[in-house]
């Protein structure tokens, strides 16, 4: 629920400063949170360049923010120790944008019960509910899924929940710190009149017959067909895995019905990039032959190429048979373009073909690697469950592995390990400022509705272990011996991560597990550049400048609004200060006295005016009556 008052709104592009005090990992996480705003809302962020009001993100004690734009020039938002999680940053920035917690909305008692005697004494004030005059729910239903909702254990004194949802299914839903919920976005987009976002481009699950405006090319030998199943597979689409009868479509290129070398080309509608880099993500199913392939092109339009020029971006070969697979393709397009999917029949027998579904295109960075875990639920029932990912290389050349622990009864842990690799002799050790982001993908068909859960860790080259070694030193020096499944020996360093990556309850919610498959998206990037101090520009008009010469009396607070200094005056239930500088005191009693005395004064004045008028009128007529005979012409005097 949002704070009432237009004065609390920020401009759509919010100026920010990342303070020097911030931990390196927090800096990367904050920028990732900004990316989620850019994808799903019309809110954007820019480094502060002198604007009157801006948000200074710093490492204070804890995680906190003010509510709304306070017009104080530098507005602090703290991302302290252990607050460096994307959803926590999203939460605090939603406060800054003008939102309170979900369970404080005026109608919350219809949806949750606050169990007052389970709350830590003295903390009851944290469960305040606002009135409709103070906050606005923006005509959006109560949202148990909100990233702004307390969890059931908030401020509890024992182990029993302090918040009980009236619909019991939501007990373990409240308090999610994954991502914006659909209703979070609806409210934010209503409050800020959003109609588009910076980085979202297109999403298509092929449920509608218009196939999202995609077109079949005439320069090929076959067409892609919109179908809901193929005899040789897939049996259903990826969007809803066949759970909805009469729906669940995808596009299929039947390689079995064409000759070797024949192609089918499907082109997206025209797209208009803003940022110059894009990530194309889609699911692909191969029921044809391993030699069948999918080529991704872009058709880019420019002044010289009004019909567009075809540019090959990636050839996807060796597509595994018999299951949906997630693919990412990085694009770098600055002009108007189309995405082109070109299916190619390869040599060898085919009974099926290629199928694509759940396409998403956004102007975001693609993850660097994908860890596809099949038959995931079999690991959940294993009390010794633990999984190591295949080895991957970062863009800088560091070799790494992800470790997922499934031994805890309630939650899953995830850890990042450096391992010995082929480039180790050429790399810097201890490994400096590489940020690893591990994200479990919510496989909702639409990227805007996904609530993926991610955690980031950053390699600090100065960090030491108990044994005195540098934590992030070369794995061949500080690691322990390990073996890949094929028997190859290597060295693995200690893992660094979280035992509380995601709870089983949340894992089973959303679409984290779909078709018994789980995807962990991995990005390891150098964030050394975030170590530098952001230049401090001169503010266009700072609060200190304008308020330095503007004194508010009686504890009034000086604020800058629309470039002018104003006073916010204190007030109570039946008293207030007013005036340009809060110099005048008012109260309800004063008002009554003023109103009564004004009425009496007006009555007295009217009475006086009436009496004077009557007196004057009577006097005038008397005078006229006295002088009448002298002025009368006496006619017929003798008659």
């Amino acid at each position: 629920n949002s704070i009432v008052g237009e004065g609390y709104r920020w401009p759509h592009t919010i100026p920010y400063v990342l303070d020097d005090s911030l931990e390196m990992n927090a800096r990367g996480v904050i920028l990732e949170a900004f990316e989620r705003y850019r994808l799903k809302t019309c809110i954007d962020f820019k480094p502060w360049s002198g604007e009157a009001n801006y948000i200074s993100v710093f490492k204070g004690s804890g995680c906190w923010s003010s509510v709304g734009n306070q017009h104080v020039g530098k507005q602090n938002l703290s991302i302290g120790h252990n607050c460096d999680r994307t959803a926590t940053v999203q939460h605090e920035f939603l406060h800054a944008l003008g939102f309170f917690h979900e369970q404080s909305r005026s109608d919350r008692d219809d949806y949750v019960s606050i169990i007052w005697d389970r709350i830590t004494p003295g903390k009851e004030n944290n469960f305040k509910a606002y009135t409709d005059e103070e906050t606005d729910s923006l005509n959006v239903p109560y949202d148990y899924n909100s990233v702004m909702h307390y969890s059931k254990t908030a401020f509890q004194i024992g182990s029993e929940p302090t918040i009980v949802t009236r619909i019991s299914d939501f007990m373990d839903v409240i308090g999610q710190r994954l991502d914006f919920s659909d209703h979070d976005l609806l409210k934010l987009n209503r409050l800020y009149n959003c109609s588009s976002s910076l980085s979202f481009m297109d999403s298509c699950d092929f449920e509608l017959e218009n196939v999202c405006g995609m077109i079949q090319s005439s320069e090929d030998s076959a067409d892609w067909q919109r179908v809901s199943q193929v005899p040789e597979g897939p049996e259903s689409d990826h969007s809803n895995m066949g759970q909805c009868k009469g729906s669940g479509f995808f596009m299929h290129f039947s390689s079995s019905s064409v000759n070797v070398g024949d192609t089918a080309v499907l082109e997206s509608r025209k797209l208009y990039p803003k940022r110059g880099f894009q990530c194309l993500q889609f699911f692909l199913y191969n029921s044809g032959h391993e030699n069948d392939q999918l080529d991704i092109y872009i058709r880019e339009y420019s002044g010289d190429n009004v019909n567009g020029i075809l540019i090959l971006v990636e050839e996807i070969k060796d597509i595994p048979l018999g299951s949906w697979q997630l693919y990412h393709v990085t694009l770098k397009v600055t002009n108007k373009f189309r995405v082109v999917f070109r299916g190619v029949r390869g040599a060898g027998d085919s009974l099926g073909g290629l199928s694509i579904d759940d396409i998403n295109l956004s102007e975001t960075q693609c993850p660097h690697h994908t860890w596809h875990i099949r038959n995931f639920t079999q690991y959940l029932s294993d009390p010794n469950g633990a999984l190591f990912s295949p080895p991957f290389y970062s863009s800088k050349g560091y070799a790494f592995q992800i470790y997922m622990t499934l031994t805890n009864l309630t939650k899953i842990g995830i850890y990042f390990h450096l391992i010995s690799g082929a480039n180790d002799d050429q790399l810097q050790w201890p490994c400096p400022w590489q940020q690893a982001t591990m994200t479990i993908l919510d496989q909702n068909p639409d990227i805007r509705q996904r609530m993926s859960n991610g955690r980031s860790i950053t390699t600090d080259p100065s960090l030491t272990s108990d044994d005195g070694n540098y934590f992030w030193d070369r794995p061949s020096k500080v690691g322990t011996e390990a073996f890949f499944p094929n028997g190859t020996q290597f060295k693995r360093s200690r893992g660094y991560g979280s035992s509380s990556f995601i709870t089983y309850e949340r894992l089973k919610s959303r679409d984290f597990i779909k078709g018994n498959d789980v995807y962990i998206l991995l990005t390891v990037e150098d964030i050394s550049h975030l170590n530098s101090t952001q230049d401090e520009p001169v503010p266009t008009s700072s609060v200190s400048d304008l308020c330095a010469f503007f004194r508010c009396e009686n504890d009034g607070i000086c604020l800058v609004r629309n470039g002018n200094a104003e006073c916010r005056c204190p007030s109570g239930e039946d008293w207030w200060y007013m005036g340009k500088r809060c110099e005048k005191r008012g109260s309800r009693r004063d008002t009554i006295v003023i109103a009564t005395s004004s009425t009496a004064a007006v009555f007295a004045l009217m009475l006086v005016i009436t009496l004077v008028s009557v007196y004057c009128t009577r006097k005038k007529y008397r005078k006229e009556a006295g002088s009448h005979p002298a002025n009368t012409t006496l006619e017929n005097q003798y008659a």
């Binding site: 004690s61 804890g62 995680c63 906190w64 923010s65 003010s66 509510v67 306070q70 104080v72 602090n76 302290g80 120790h81 252990n82 607050c83 926590t88 939460h91 605090e92 406060h95 309170f100 917690h101 404080s104 004030n125 944290n126 305040k128 307390y150 969890s151 254990t153 908030a154 401020f155 308090g175 710190r177 470790y403 939650k411 842990g413 850890y415 860790i457 272990s465 934590f471 322990t480 693995r492 200690r494 893992g495 660094y496 991560g497 979280s498 035992s499 509380s500 709870t503 504890d555 607070i557 916010r568 204190p570 007030s571 109570g572």
Partner: protein
């Protein structure tokens, strides 16, 4: 093998828990109020 380093120390703490452990007494757990809102 040495034990992995757990940044969460084995706990699954929400924003309010983190702030409470620090002894912070913020409004609704994580809201900083200005002078007018405090009144």
């Amino acid at each position: 093998a040495p034990e992995n380093f757990d940044v969460d120390g084995g706990l699954d703490r929400d924003i309010f828990d983190i702030n409470e452990d620090l002894g912070l007494d913020l409004f609704e757990g994580d809201i900083s109020l200005d002078g007018v809102q405090e009144r």
